[in-house]
């Protein structure tokens, strides 16, 4: 950290901690509450805030202040970020709110609307030394009514991982195998072509399954749906929207995959553990997941732990366009820090977030959990450069979109997932699936959603 930044931190901390005190009589211990989901995929999300408090404490000590800042962490044992956000809402309602919390970005709208997320525009403007280097596109994930209400803590990229050895096994040329990402990028190779290829691999006996996806609700499906032109939010009105024709296209693809042995019709009955072993164990040709899965794939034995060995075995593509000439889709799902505007120490909390977001703190989180950087400067750090998967993944970022920061995105995703499950398991037809999703959305969300087509 530069000298200027140190001085700025000290000045800000002194302003916050010692208002009007020239000679503090007694030492104050300020406790900052932090809410985070107990999540093995990102322990430093909380750890970096604690480290930021240590930095502030060192500066206070250097300035001769007896005051200290401590961070008390509440690790919430929720099944996912949606469940965690609902628990946090309850904590706010019961006056047990933390000063800082970690959340999935799409919940920021709900928190901000309820008055639980601080508008950080002034804080960001007042502290350019901390925020000027943030990758601009990531700010989009923190907006509510056009204002930034959170600080991106990490970023990611999702993709279809495909097994190159299986393509070799069914006789595909190296040119085809290595050229696949470019063909997807140009829109020449569609999502239907990908399914046909997966069927070829399964029929050729190279894999048991063609394409597997997550077995629960999550952002991946919106990424594939974007390939079919499904845009979940109308930016003009700020309302959620659902297109009947895009849903029809997407669910037809799901059904085709299930009917043709490409995706197991009981994919949603699989446990995460089973899903995570399928690619490394050579049982599936394609797995739809995210960049953070790469360390696990290597740990489970997909290849040797080197860039060369991995890229010789596994390739990455976006979700291809549904029609030739269309654009492929990707989706990033940043996790963010937000500050409770009702906190007695909101400014100090924001300062801790600012420090925790600096490259020195954020890079260890990024490289140990397979998340891409939030600042440009991180790409120059040796640790980041050594993490070859991150720099490769960052190349897919330009096609990334984000989930809408809408208050009703949780029920919206739930309805879509149930529809997918119904069609994939053969319990309902594509038409019934579309009707089911649209009915659920209308019944659950009412005026918050507009049905298109």
């Amino acid at each position: 950290m530069s000298m200027m930044k140190n001085l700025a931190v000290l000045g800000l901390a002194a302003t916050i901690l010692l208002p009007g005190q020239i000679t503090p009589v007694t030492a104050a211990e300020i406790e900052i509450g932090l809410w985070t989901r107990a999540d093995r995929s990102g322990p430093l999300r909380a750890g970096n805030i604690v480290a930021a408090a240590d930095t502030v404490n060192k500066m206070l000590a250097a300035a001769g202040s007896p005051d200290t800042v401590t961070v008390s962490i509440h690790e919430n044992n929720a099944k996912g970020f949606d469940a965690d956000a609902l628990d946090l809402m309850k904590a706010f309602a019961a006056n047990k709110a933390p000063d800082i919390y970690v959340a999935a970005h799409e919940w920021i709208g709900a928190f901000a609307e309820a008055g639980y997320a601080m508008n950080l525009e002034d804080h960001i403007a007042a502290n350019p030394e901390y925020y000027a280097d943030v990758i601009p596109v990531l700010w989009n994930a923190t907006l509510y009514l056009g204002k930034r209400h959170a600080i991106p803590q990490d970023s990611e990229i999702r993709m279809f991982f495909y097994n190159k050895d299986m393509l070799r096994q069914i006789g595909k040329s190296e040119d085809f195998i290595e050229g696949l990402p470019a063909m997807v990028e140009s829109g020449e190779f569609t999502i239907w072509d990908l399914s046909s290829l997966a069927k070829e691999v399964v029929d050729g006996g190279a894999a048991e399954y063609g394409i597997v996806h997550r077995p629960n609700v999550g952002p991946d499906f919106l990424m594939t749906m974007a390939s079919f032109g499904f845009d979940p939010m109308d930016e003009q009105t700020g309302k959620l929207q659902a297109s009947r024709s895009a849903l029809e296209g997407f669910l037809s693809w799901i059904k085709w995959n299930a009917d043709n042995g490409v995706t197991p019709s009981n994919n949603t009955s699989f446990s995460w553990d089973t899903i995570n072993h399928l690619l490394p164990e050579g049982k599936t040709f394609i797995k739809h997941h995210g960049l953070w899965d790469v360390p696990r794939q290597i740990r489970f034995g997909v290849s040797e732990d080197s860039e060369e060995a991995y890229t010789n075995t596994v390739g990455w593509v976006h979700s291809p366009a549904a029609e030739k000439g269309g654009s492929p889709a990707n989706l990033s799902h940043p996790i963010v820090y937000a500050v409770n505007p009702g906190s007695e120490h909101a400014d100090l909390a924001a300062l801790l977030v600012a420090i925790a977001s600096q490259p020195y703190f954020n890079t260890p989180h990024a490289v140990t959990t397979g998340h891409t950087a939030i600042m440009h400067a991180q790409s120059g750090m040796p640790a980041y450069q050594e993490a070859w998967a991150l720099s490769r993944g960052a190349k897919l970022l330009p096609n990334a979109s984000f989930m809408p920061n809408h208050t009703q995105i949780g029920p919206f995703n739930q309805a879509i997932y149930k529809g997918i499950q119904g069609v994939e398991t053969g319990r309902i037809s594509v038409e019934e699936g579309v009707d089911f999703i649209l009915d659920e959305l209308e019944s659950e969300l009412g005026d918050d959603v507009v049905i298109l087509d």
Binding site: D82, M89, F92, A110, S269, T274, Q414
Partner: protein, 306 residues
């Protein structure tokens, strides 16, 4: 003086009432009456994820009766689940276990009863995790490992027979309660009745039919009523094993209420749905009370032994 005595007695009666019945009344009020009152109050609001109640509204009732397309299907599913679990496990299998284990030598009977109590003694999450592992639809699952060793094709219980799965998973736990109650009831039947029946030439089944079953009629009625109500409101094993899926195939009514309230954050609508569950529970109790003649079970004994 006598008036004083009466007053004192009355005061004593009131004190006794407070001391002996007070705690029970307080608990009843806190955990049975108050939740229903709160539920009714919440049902008439628009309380959402922030737990803030805005306005008084009938919107939730209107939605439940006119727009909720899952309601009827969920209720039908619940009926099948409750009936199936009762019929195959909680009453019938519990009875079979009791009959068999009481017929066995005492040590062997005790051992088998202990084995059947194990699922009930396991923490629910551990029990559910074991099931999740057992039914994994790939060769990683315990059942499929056994099937593969026997040359039987892989089975996906969760996808192909979801209702059977939740009935069996719940039934394995539910059967033990019936087993304990029925065992105790069978043990209390005077032994000379069995000897007399045997002397008259009755076989095992006839003894069960003519001696045992009539003697344990009331415990059977009690278990039926109690377990029906218990199954109506329980969902934790279903939630942990299938999460109500695939699609809505195992979303029983109590789970549906939970999901609407706590997974979607629609607390007011969840409260409205829960209110219907209270009504169904009360109606089911009253019907069974009437048809199983439970009043006779609770009447005062006609013979008093001194």
């Amino acid at each position: 003086m006598s008036a004083d005595l009466i007053t004192q007695q009355k005061r004593r009666q009131r004190t006794n009432f407070v001391i002996f019945l007070g705690p029970a009344c307080l608990l009843l009020l806190m955990f049975f009456v108050l939740p229903v009152v709160v539920d009714i109050a919440v049902a008439f609001t628009d309380m959402g994820r922030t737990l803030k109640a805005g306005e008084f509204t009938f919107e939730n009732f209107e939605r439940m009766f006119t727009r909720d397309r899952r309601l009827l299907k969920t209720l039908t599913l619940t009926f099948i689940y409750v009936l199936g679990t009762l019929a195959f496990f909680n009453v019938t299998f519990g009875l079979i276990l009791a009959l068999v284990t009481t017929a066995l030598p005492s040590r062997a009977g005790g051992f088998f009863r202990a084995v059947w109590l194990l699922p009930r003694m396991s923490p629910s999450v551990v029990y559910a995790l074991l099931w999740a592992w057992a039914i994994d639809p790939t060769e990683r699952g315990l059942i499929n490992q056994i099937f593969l060793a026997l040359g039987i094709p892989i089975l996906d219980l969760q996808n192909d027979f979801p209702m059977v799965l939740i009935i069996v998973a719940n039934g394995f736990i539910g059967a033990s309660m019936g087993m304990i109650i029925f065992t105790s009831a069978i043990r209390s039947i005077p032994e000379h009745l069995f000897h007399a029946a045997r002397t008259d030439g009755a076989g095992g089944l006839r003894v069960v039919w003519h001696i045992t079953l009539p003697a344990i009629r009331w415990p059977i009625s009690f278990i039926t009523v109690y377990q029906t109500l218990s199954l109506l409101v329980s969902f934790e094993y279903i939630w942990l094993i299938t999460d109500g899926g695939p699609f809505f195939d195992t979303t029983v009514y109590a789970l549906y209420v939970y999901k609407r309230a706590f997974e979607s954050g629609q607390y007011a609508y969840g409260a409205t749905l829960a209110l219907l569950l209270v009504v169904i529970g009360v109606a089911a109790s009253m019907l069974m009370w009437r048809f199983l003649n439970m009043k006779a079970l609770l009447q005062e004994p006609r013979i008093e032994v001194h």
